[in-house]
Symmetry: C2
Subunit: 204 residues, 2 copies
Amino acid sequence: MNKKSVYKISYGLFVLTASEGDKDNGCIVNTVIQLTSDPMQIAVTVNKGNLTHDMIKNTGKFNVSVIDQTAPFELFKHFGFQSGRDSMKFGTPDSYKFAPKYADNGLLYVSAYANAFMSGKVVKEVDLGTHTMFIAEMTDGEVLSDKPSMTYEYYQANVKPRPAAQKKTGWVCKVCGYVYEGEELPADFVCPICKHGAVDFEKN
Amino acid sequence: MNKKSVYKISYGLFVLTASEGDKDNGCIVNTVIQLTSDPMQIAVTVNKGNLTHDMIKNTGKFNVSVIDQTAPFELFKHFGFQSGRDSMKFGTPDSYKFAPKYADNGLLYVSAYANAFMSGKVVKEVDLGTHTMFIAEMTDGEVLSDKPSMTYEYYQANVKPRPAAQKKTGWVCKVCGYVYEGEELPADFVCPICKHGAVDFEKN
């Protein structure tokens, strides 16, 4: 079995946002799909280690912005490479660049570099071990622009900084570019930045 | 709410295959995702009207081939625009063009115009009304080529025959090109070819 076969699956990229108490948060995901059209249902699968995961689990609500091809690496850094447990992702000067707006469900969504957003109300949860899939009725959604959606493949080819720019040697996370310095990568290693496992690292 | 916002979600395209008794069958889906990497789990969501759906439900096994960018429209016609209830999709001269091969789980997969395949053993089913999501442990998988994966967007732009070639007027299914002839499309209309609803039709 070659686990790399799953890398051939195409994905879009999304900013998933949620809120709990007085804190708004967001993270980057690639696992949004439409499930049915009658009723309109969408699903998103989130790593249990993410603060956004817990917020959705506790509140049953989320927004998802579809990232378009013009999005800069900065967007991925802001929402993908830091944890909302340690830093504010919204309400900071940096976050204004991504034009957060409120949807009807009272949650923020990112409106810059996004060609659409959708609001989901969770109707079912599926426990997948390391992740939870939230199945949601779509309660709102708007098209924001005609720009093409960014795929994960496009991100890898055009947005992610080139490894050549890196000085560290060792094992590079193919998802976020984090470098583990050392000859051998432990099999149970999990990227401290984006939470992907050893299977997503390659030697540079 | 603009339901067209869901069209901005990016997808790959896949031939989903299953078998029951002495019958092999396959259909085209766009809803394959990886869920977790430890253990390796994938999911596929299938319309309950598809024969392949029933075969997977009854046997708990499937294969999925990732369609690459070189695939001709003929592949989509063969697996997507006819029902396995009415016609044999495998074992016919046409089907040999798609180089069906057996995986270790005893099921066929399409090896032509595919850059990878994966085998799934269902561990959980989620009833979504019109569809079922099959959550599966990945039991096998191989990379077949380096050709880029075909996205749904690529299919729409480069593979699907142009509407200009159509002579019929009425409502066109944006998924498969089927034309409903008439001034008004009933709101509950379902495409007889690809099973998509009225929301996926546009007036030509």
